[in-house]
Structure formats: structure tokens, C-alpha cells
Symmetry: C2
Subunit: 286 residues, 2 copies
Amino acid sequence: MTRAGICCTDLEITRGYMGYRGVLGHELLGIVEACDDPQLVGRRVVAEINLGCGHCRACAADLARHCAKRTVLGIVGKDGCHAECVTLPTGNLHVVPDEVTDDRAVFAEPLAAAFEILEQVHVAPDERVLVLGDGKLGLLATMVLSTAGADTTLVGRHPHKLAIAESAGARASTEVPAVAGFDVVVEATGNAAGLATALGAVRPRGTVVLKSTYHGRPAVDTARIVIDEIRVVGSRCGRFGPALRSLASGRIDPKPLVEETYALADGVVAYEHAARKGALKVCLVP
Amino acid sequence: MTRAGICCTDLEITRGYMGYRGVLGHELLGIVEACDDPQLVGRRVVAEINLGCGHCRACAADLARHCAKRTVLGIVGKDGCHAECVTLPTGNLHVVPDEVTDDRAVFAEPLAAAFEILEQVHVAPDERVLVLGDGKLGLLATMVLSTAGADTTLVGRHPHKLAIAESAGARASTEVPAVAGFDVVVEATGNAAGLATALGAVRPRGTVVLKSTYHGRPAVDTARIVIDEIRVVGSRCGRFGPALRSLASGRIDPKPLVEETYALADGVVAYEHAARKGALKVCLVP
């Protein structure tokens, strides 16, 4: 392990989410120490976090992230990367282009999750997109959508985060614009009120991309979904190719999201920092 | 007016849905008595129920059904067709082909709503589709999807309705098949438990088509939508062209759905009949 990120999911797991017990962490950058493929030994790699069975229909379609028998690094049945070493199948590894620095490469996993939006939903470059929530994922989604050409507005609460979105070419606001009717709304606030806001801000026949998972089962205005024929699309992990290409070209630069880097030995302090309200990315270095 | 259908929405309105006060009814067949277009006078017509402003972006896109200023026949700000006469814009009228009998033509509106599923979602002919709810809309959706070639299963409670689905070439069952993982699930039960069943029966990355509107705001397992990357698509009114073509060719025959026809003067009795548990289509003739 060279470097690892702390994600909101890690914090949720410490509060009981997924009922997981084991080593935390799924955002990683490392050097391959040993591998069946000698070409990979010594290479700098990032890694996809879903480990499929390799035999089912989902795995055959290169969708291990939807394999019913999958384990997930640091989340389901597989020790994670907040450690000095981690094991992973060779097929999960992606060599990082030399031009991508360590502090950027560690964003490959959450950036892939942001690119997942474009794998699932056709966002035309003329469309108006609203991103709700200026957390790490909301900011990465704003960067991805803005870079794809969409007229993108991020709504958040923290001036320094909104400034990051503006630097990436997006609009930023502390309130949902009065002229709503957005073609696509990405809900990344992490609280159920965000979904209600999203359903109120999307145009008829528009798309709400749901990135947040909430505690419990929120009450949803399903009548609005039916009457306005809204599409609600759940969105989770993505492929690493688009993320690594955008990092290598410099089209997307997540470095402004790095708030602090801690030694792995100070992991508990690092987690406490990451849990602070409004914290950006906290990283660990073994 | 030649003939009108009573829809579940009409029954909901009598219980307070939409806060509408006025003449009920939006499923109609009639003869044009007077019209700016002399070609239409004396013709047998059905009619789209959304009356747009004619000037906005939705109306320009031939989507009056999503015009923010629309009235809706017998539902929002426009007297409906459970009457001897009704007025409608010429643009809302569709001439019924001669080969479609009156008792079939009156299904044009709900059948268009069933075809709306195919306008919104690409259902490939190899896909496995589950329809939840053997009410009128569930049966029409089953007919449409089965006719489109999909491997369609209707889940309902009433043997005589399940038999109608089987006659239309679909499978029918009183329980969700143990091997779930359907590509598309159409929720048409009218109760919120149906949405939970739909989310449990759809495969990862599959589509739930939401036809039902529920009382209040149901609690929804949004985490499942995110983790399994499910698409939930709200679906309402559809275009009449596909409905009329399928009736004219005989590909779809809704006649088995007719339960009883009453004189308009017996409308209250007809509504009471339509409100019986498990009732199929009740029609009115002026």
C-alpha cells in the first residue's frame, strides 16, 4: 500500500452499516509485491473493489460489481486496504499512468463512481444538470459532468467547496436555482431530504441519479415520479478506465479535495478528522 | 358521447384524489357533432385527455401531457366525459378505424397508457418481464408487453383475470416466481407493498416501471435502488397511435375486460359496481 483514502462509506461502516467486521478501506494505491503475472510486479496500481465469483451471468458481462456472490474490499467479506498490505485478484488491478501523481491516483475509485453516472445516463452536452451536495462525491460528479460539457450547477453549503466546483468550470450556489426544471439531478447529499429536493428540481421526464444511501427507508413522493414520468436511477461503482484517462490527461484534477494525509499508525485520528462535518478527503500513508 | 369507461382514477377522485370537482370521466368514444374541421363532423373518435397551453416547450415537443399549465379531462380543471356531450380541442381527437368495435375503442386511453411503457423503456423481445397487479391496467400492460414479444408473467389474485392474461399469450401466477431477477417489473397493484415486491423481483440494473400512485408517501428501500443500480421509471399517459393500430389489427383485444355496461342515468350504480373489489371495466352509455 502506498496511499489510501477514507470514504464516507468507511465512516458509515464504523457506525454499523453493512454489518461488516474486518479491515476497513477500499480506495487504494499500491505497488504490486507479488503476482502470477510477472509484468505487474513492481507496478503502481489502483484496484476495483468488487470481487465476483467469475462464473455467473453478471461476471460474464464484466459486471462483477453486480455478482450476487461478490465480496467487496473493506465492505463485504474481504479485508480492506487501510493496512500495510492487501491481496486482490489480478483482474481487479489497473496500472496507473506515470503522469498521475500518488495524491491524484488515490481518487481513481470514487472518480470511477462519478463516471458511472455517464455509463448509466446519456447526459447530452446541452443539458442542464444539478448536483445536490458538496461532499467529495458531489464534487467529483460535478467535475465529471462539467467536463462532459453539461451546464452543471452544484448546490452545497461550504464556500470553499463551491469554489472548487467553480474552478472546475461549473456553477455553484448555496440554494437550488429558482428556475428549476433540470434535465438531470444528481442526489449526493447523503440525507433523504435531498431526494425530495431532487424530485422538485427535475423537469417532467427528467432523470434523478441517486448516489446517496440513507439510514432506514425514506418516505418518497412516488406520485410525483409517476405524474411527471421521472426516471430515478440508482448509481454505485464505476469502471476505472474513464477515471484513469481523465486523471492522466489532467481534464479532472481531484487534488483540491485532499484535506489532510495521516500515517496509517494515526488511523484513529485520521478517521476522527474524516468524520468532521464538512471534511474533504483524508488519506492514509502506511 | 357514445360510450365511456370508468377508471380507478375516477374512483380515487370520488374519494378526494387531485381535489377535483366537476364532471368525471376521461375514457371516451363519441361522434363529432360540431367542429372547425368539417372532415371530422360525424366521425367516430377517441380523445387524448391532456389539454396543453399550446405555447410552452412541452407542447412544442408534442408533450401536452407534461405541459405545466395543462388541464386534464375529468381530472384537472376540465369537465369530463361521463356526460351526454363533451368539448375537446380538435388536436386531441383521433378517428377510430371502422374495424374497431365500440366496446373495444373505448379502451384506447388506458391502452395508450399501457403502450407508454414501450415509449419510455426499451423492452427487448428476449427479456423477462413481470407485471404486478391483475387490475385493468395490469392486464392491458401484460397484453402490450406480451404482444411485443417479451417473456411476460402477470402476478395477480383473481383466476378469471389471470386466465385473460394467459389467453393473451402471457404466463400467469398468484405468486412472484421463485426465480426472480426480472429485466423489467411493471408495478400496477395500486398499493405501496407492490413497489417493495417490484424492487425485490427486478435484477441488478433492471427497470421498475411505476404505474401506481399511492395514498401518501410510501417508505422506499432506496438503498436497494442504489446498490443494485435499479432504474425506477414513472409512467402515465401515452400516445393513441399504437393503441388504435393494435386494436385495428386485432393484435390486442381488450373486450374480455368489459364486465358490465350501464346507462349514464344509472351512473351512481355503475360507479358502485366499478368500486367492487376485483371489478373489471364498467362502461357507461348515454
